[in-house]
Symmetry: C2
Subunit: 430 residues, 2 copies
């Protein structure tokens, strides 16, 4: 008998098939026994009918517990009353293993308990839906860039220099020297962009931040495109199109998951371009008027991100930050050199910054000056300076955090549920 | 004027366009000057005609050096004599930056010199071709799994336990404890496979091996599928289909790159399934007869991988290894429990092992016994043991190394050229 997956079951109407999976739930009603079988791709109602209470399949039914593994064989029948519209009339069951006292029961559990059992919690419907959205968001991102002629160029995780200060870096011994876990592939992207024109890197990123917020992970995934000969405006256009592409995909391919998560699709459907733009100088007085305690020159914090997200149903682009609060490589504005040509995309509904980027310095002397001003070890940046010696050109790009994007798509407030095995402050198990 | 990429130039025949890029080469011939402009997506011949030797564009031509950045505007013309079949009749040139003394000249350079200038070497035609094949191989792998209903489930890089011995592990302080960089996502894959049925992870992997061979990288990318309810045979079928899918894609989409690399496509075209299979017990006497010094019970080394690859134009699958030389989680053969249900795919032409995998232990007691036998810290594996308590089932999967696969596809002997910024023994710059 053919082994089929639940998500493909409609193609096997009135056929005999085999399903392999786990008991999600069971119940009995008179002469009928129902076993809900999940196989990872869906949940199928399987039914056993008999007038004979001593029927051997009834015995097996009684033995089965939540999450026991089994192989069920039977005929696929269309039935509008069944969840998904199909059910399986059971002919035969092989029990592979009986699960005793599965820790996650239908009752409420605390988050620390569920996080401690993350390896099992993944089987729950809501977690399953979130991570399916995650997989689709990642596929959408890759399809977006691949479809526009960007070349995937993986950047290294182990790097020799501490790019932006050592306080949030993980370090490890690398044979006879020290190495640091990458916080961004951007500097390397600038080299590959000069070789391939349009590139992106997409990998895990590490920040040893001692902050415990619902928006931070110690280990998270980030996609970073970089385009040679591009400007701040090009980066904003690219980020806008990327966000719209992801939303379109999620709305098309993840309808059932959004429903499982009780996420109102209208909040995503209403996103349209252009996204509102605002300079830092314009934003500060507005934020202060709405109660923010920030002063001019401060970076935007979580309270400000929330206030900005109340301004529009769309993401809001904040540009032209004070150069001092941004990275050393940011291109200054031509007429206001104290401002950096950077952009942060603030997601609506308080989901915070999901994209940060801008235009990079392409002038050798200015970059050398910045490296001195920021007290960076010049020898570690020789190769990066080379990019300004040999065919320098304006270029721009950004980084988008996958987990924040997924939490926005799913409408879940804590980022820890958007990655299979979250790494949090002091938390690295399982 | 519209900014277009060289790879799209054919769509702009007889139109005026702008190309942004770098001087790849230049030459003059009587009243004509040729500038080969590379923009990362291709190389375009641009031509300046004039009877007037003092034409300002001739002055700009004289100024330009290898790798100088520029913007060229002009009309696209079909010309069969031009490389690629199109050229640009130049109307205007903006020079952005003149590159002085670009270190990589058309003369021969030593490999250490080129590796030290990896950030620039990427612009060379051969390196460009290799990394385009890499991007296509990665896309093929993702399309293969996504198209077959596998869910991408990223596994963590920072892990709390040293899975297979600490000698080749990178360690880092993780707040109040130690963490290790992942050598494989497999154990975590087993948890996600029980939640999603068919999964894969795909990320960077780290081995602090003090070996300096042409087949090893310290940091490399690996794709690892895992399938619940699957056996060794299923894993072999999946690996076989994956390899054939990648080859098909490379042959279809990377023809020009293979040509640039002087790679004979026939060596890939001839690969067909089924791949030959051989047990370890069958392989050892054959290898010894061919001159291998290995003894029964030894693992296969590089010389054996080469000897095996001479047996067939196809990859060869070696199965049923002595359990003692394989990982603790390998399922033993039912009739010969001293043998493990593992498989190594050896690529042809001496490219070595590109896939390693097999069936995992699903019996709780046996796994507990192995954890004791291998002296592993049980508390770190509690979550992994849980997978055998709650709905255990046979399951199988494998890992495929991206860089080895790319080096095979490209026909290049040293793996260091198959990743943008290779990490090698003592070598972490740039």
């Amino acid at each position: 008998m053919k082994w089929v997956y639940v998500e493909d079951i409609a193609a096997y109407k009135d056929k005999d098939v085999e399903v392999r999976g786990w008991v999600y739930n069971k119940r009995s009603s008179g002469k009928v026994r129902f076993i809900l079988v999940r196989d990872g791709t869906g949940i199928l109602q399987t039914t056993i009918f008999s007038a004979d209470e001593s029927h051997p399949l009834f015995g097996k039914f009684d033995e089965l517990t939540q999450e026991s593994s089994l192989v069920v064989r039977g005929r696929v029948r269309e039935d509008k009353r069944a969840p998904g519209g199909f059910e399986l009339t059971v002919q035969d069951i092989d029990i592979l293993q009986i699960a005793r006292d599965y820790p996650i029961t239908p009752k409420e559990h605390t988050t620390p308990f569920l996080m401690e059992h993350r390896h099992l919690w993944l089987r729950s419907r809501k977690q399953h839906a979130v991570l399916q959205v995650r997989a689709e968001v990642i596929k959408a991102i890759r399809d977006f860039f691949d479809g526009r002629g960007f070349r995937l160029m993986d950047t290294p995780i182990l790097t020799p220099s501490a790019c932006e200060g050592t306080t949030t870096l993980f370090e490890t011994k690398y044979f006879d020297q020290m190495a640091y876990l990458s916080q961004s592939g951007q500097l390397y992207n600038e080299a590959t962009a000069a070789a391939f024109g349009k590139v992106y890197c997409f990998g895990p990123t590490f920040r040893a931040e001692k902050s415990k917020t619902r928006r931070h992970l110690i280990e998270f995934w980030m996609v970073e495109p970089e385009v040679a000969f591009a400007t701040l405006d090009d980066a904003i256009d690219l980020g806008t199109d990327l966000i719209l592409f992801i939303i379109e995909r999620v709305l098309t391919d993840c309808r059932a998951d959004l429903e499982e998560l009780e996420r109102d699709p209208k909040l995503l459907e209403r996103i349209t371009k252009p996204f509102p733009r605002m300079t830092y100088d314009e934003a500060v007085p507005q934020l202060q008027a709405k109660g923010s305690l920030m002063k001019y020159g401060d970076d935007l914090g979580a309270p400000e991100e929330t206030l900005i997200s109340e301004l529009s149903p769309n993401p809001v682009c904040i540009t032209h930050f004070p150069a001092k609060i941004k990275a050393f490589y940011m291109q200054p504005d031509a007429t206001r050199p104290d401002l950096a040509l950077g952009v942060d995309f603030m997601a609506p509904e308080s989901y915070g910054e999901i994209i940060g980027g801008g235009q990079r310095i392409h002038d050798l002397e200015l970059l050398e000056q910045r490296i001195r001003e920021y007290n960076l070890p010049r020898e570690a940046y020789e190769w990066y300076l080379d990019l300004r010696k040999y065919g320098s050109c304006p270029h721009a790009g950004f980084g988008m955090g996958v987990e924040r994007t997924v939490s926005w798509m799913c409408g879940i407030k804590h980022i820890r549920e958007t990655i299979p095995f979250p790494r949090l402050l002091y938390k690295i198990y399982p």
